[in-house]
């Protein structure tokens, strides 16, 4: 792809080229493939019809997450409870039959390690710097937090990777999102990525791979980086990358699927070489001052519809672009909001703390810090905390976070995607309004007619205890 100074993206790309097509499209080797139950049945069916096998089961890991109910999964004797929804049960059964038939390693639905694919990958050390990683889910971008070139693929590509362990990929342009400065008190990685999406728009990164750079990110925890990288797709880019650094190595060391012993030392030495070279060129560059970012909420039905919590629902006419004006009008109508209304006055009845964006231990701690010693507001109809994996759940329970949540009136659930996309029984009812730590506020995403406000875990907790969108900085002090 390039000579001389190279970006992190270009280094990973160059190291994975198996063959080159005529127009720059390359056949890339895929090091890691995560499989879940929603986007894989048709892929396995395709293999079966063509009489093909899975080329490298050892580089593949399957886990069910989207459909699983978040209520108890085993009875008092440890036996698995049936899934009520027949179609969900069928999809799970299809995954289990397929992984047995094709010999794909997996994490069982009732295992303590089960969780959302994008939480499980990093947690197991399946996700490693410098690797190419794919999954039939667009939030695969999350794994870029560890320096993996990770992107979501469709089912035909899932089939292609299963059969060949490669993919034809067109090189992307490179885009640097550089953030410097310290995030203010009460401002999290989630607020920052919402702010970035608001700045560049949901099509802002289309055709690009984003590299997140600058001292704000250098100081950010791996969990915060996972939140940022996760929502890269909401900024239009298929992958977002962070150069692996000491924090990355410390996070990965000792994880079950990470290299051990001497292999670990070799791996770290190689990972140190991945960072973008000093004089490398980015096709686009965006700079952001972290001190400008406030706790942020969405008011519309696109993740670019953001405003600081101190702000107002915008006037559709304030947008220059006529298409955006029309979209904003439609969004306000769907959301049941009035232009000029203070965001702080917006009452919510549903709270969702979870999803691959914000369901790791740090997220739960941040929410628990706000909830501690408080009760959820009487006007809240449903407040769910859904840990990202069984291991996160155990850790939280060991720290007593579950008690903080349940004593305040939250439901403490089993891990999975849950109300992020409402494929399982966890839904927001029509016209219900939800403060959600997930990543998409599209019309109908959390259930038909559901109104979603995307927020950070601390802000979701603040909404739970006040019954409205609230500024977390007024509830907790530094």
């Amino acid at each position: 792809m390039s000579r001389g100074a190279r970006t992190l993206y270009e280094k990973i790309w160059d190291a994975h080229v198996v063959a080159r097509g005529e127009d720059g499209t390359c056949l890339l080797y895929i090091d890691r493939h995560l499989v879940h139950e929603v986007t894989s049945p048709q892929a396995f069916e395709g293999l079966r019809l063509a009489g093909r096998s899975v080329r490298r089961p050892d580089l593949t890991l399957a886990v069910a997450d989207h459909n699983l109910p978040t209520t108890r999964r085993v009875d008092a004797n440890g036996n698995r409870l049936p899934i009520e929804n027949a179609e969900s049960a069928e999809q799970l059964a299809a995954l289990e039959a397929n992984i047995a038939e094709f010999g794909v390693p997996s994490i069982e639905a009732t295992a303590p390690e089960q969780g959302i694919v994008h939480v499980v990958g990093p947690e197991r050390g399946f996700t490693l710097p410098g690797t190419t990683l794919v999954c039939g889910d667009s939030h695969t971008a999350a794994h870029g937090a560890l320096g993996a070139l990770a992107f979501g693929i469709g089912t035909s590509e899932v089939e292609h990777v299963l059969a060949t362990q490669t993919l034809w990929v067109r090189p992307s342009k490179t885009m640097e999102v550089r953030v410097d400065g310290r995030l203010g008190f009460g401002v999290s990685a989630k607020d920052l990525i919402l702010f970035i999406i608001g700045r560049i728009g949901t099509a802002g990164g289309t055709g690009h791979v984003i590299e997140y750079r600058g001292d704000t990110f250098a100081e950010m925890s791996i969990e915060g980086r996972l939140t940022v990288a996760n929502m890269t797709i909401e900024a239009g880019a298929r992958s977002g990358l962070f150069a692996p650094d000491e924090a990355t190595f410390a996070y990965l060391k000792g994880r079950p699927m990470a290299p051990q012993g001497e292999a670990w030392e070799h791996a770290v030495a190689a990972w140190r070489e991945l960072a973008t070279d000093d004089r490398a060129h980015f096709d686009r560059s965006v700079r952001i001052d972290a001190t400008e970012v406030a706790p942020t909420v969405t008011w519309g039905t696109s993740p670019e519809d953001v405003a600081p919590i101190t702000g107002k629902v915008p006037e559709p006419d304030s947008f220059a672009d006529p298409a955006r004006r029309a979209a904003a009008r439609k969004a306000l109508d769907y959301m049941g909001l009035t232009a000029g209304q203070m965001l702080r006055d917006v009452a919510v009845e549903h709270i969702f703390i979870g999803s691959c964006t914000n369901s790791r231990i740090e997220d739960l701690r941040a929410a628990a810090d706000v909830v501690r010693g408080r009760k959820i507001s009487d006007s809240i109809k449903q407040a769910l905390v859904v840990p990202g994996s069984g291991l996160v759940k155990r850790q939280a329970e060991a720290e007593g976070l579950d008690r903080i949540f349940t004593e305040a009136g939250f439901d403490w659930r089993e891990p999975g995607c849950s109300m992020c996309l409402a494929m399982n029984p966890d839904k927001v009812p029509p016209q219900g309004r939800c403060a959600s730590t997930s990543n998409r506020n599209f019309a109908g995403r959390q259930g038909p007619g559901a109104r979603t406000h995307l927020v950070s875990p601390a802000m979701a907790a603040a909404a739970a205890v006040t019954g409205r969108l609230a500024d977390v900085r007024e509830l907790v002090k530094p």
Binding site: D23, V38, Q42, E90, S138, S156, A163
Partner: protein, 187 residues
């Protein structure tokens, strides 16, 4: 897969921007384990709006859809492409497409045709009354009103569409290169 070279017929003048995959096919319909049958659930929330174009019998079975920028944004669900294909859509015309949708489209025999917004605006007007033609060979979208808009398309994707190619078979013809790569790098 079926080869597509020229698509002619009515074009649904939808025009909306940021059409996301949840709008194309809601998550509740993702529980299928087969590719077929999703068309009747496509654009469900839009179909619930009074006076929407999808309810207009003139556009039943139309092979072309016209939309605004960033079509197919959101999730990687290929169900969105399957739903469109199942509705009979063979070409979507928009000023831009999400990267993932662009890939899912050609793999399912749907041409993702990029035209500038001003061309789209003219086609949106024409489509209410006239059929359109998308010619992949000549890379031109035309209407009986004399519109002729040329477009560009990734040559690889265009070939795949025009020849109805099986991509996995194509890749497996590189077996030696894949094996050599594995011997070199993968432990």
């Amino acid at each position: 897969m079926k080869a597509v070279k020229r698509i002619h017929g009515r074009a649904i003048p939808f025009g909306r921007r940021n059409v996301d995959t949840d709008l194309i096919i809601a998550a509740v319909h993702l529980k299928t384990i087969s590719r077929a049958g999703l068309g009747r659930h496509a654009f469900e929330t839009v179909r619930a709006e009074p006076g929407n174009v999808f309810a207009d019998p003139a556009f039943a079975g139309a092979p072309i859809l016209i939309a605004g920028e960033n079509f197919g944004c959101g999730s990687s669900r290929e169900h969105a492409a399957w739903a469109l294909a199942d509705m009979g859509i063979e070409a979507v015309i928009a000023p831009s497409f999400s990267d993932i949708f662009g890939g899912n489209a050609y793999r399912n025999g749907i041409a993702a045709v990029v035209l500038a917004q001003n061309a789209i605006d003219r086609l949106l007007d024409a489509a209410w009354r006239y059929p359109l033609t998308v010619d992949l060979e000549a890379m031109i979208v035309s209407s009986p009103l004399g519109h002729r808009f040329t477009f560009e398309m990734d040559p690889f994707r265009r070939d795949c569409l025009m020849e109805g190619r099986d991509e996995i078979a194509l890749t497996l013809s590189h077996e030696d290169a894949i094996r050599a790569y594995e011997e070199r790098t993968v432990p």
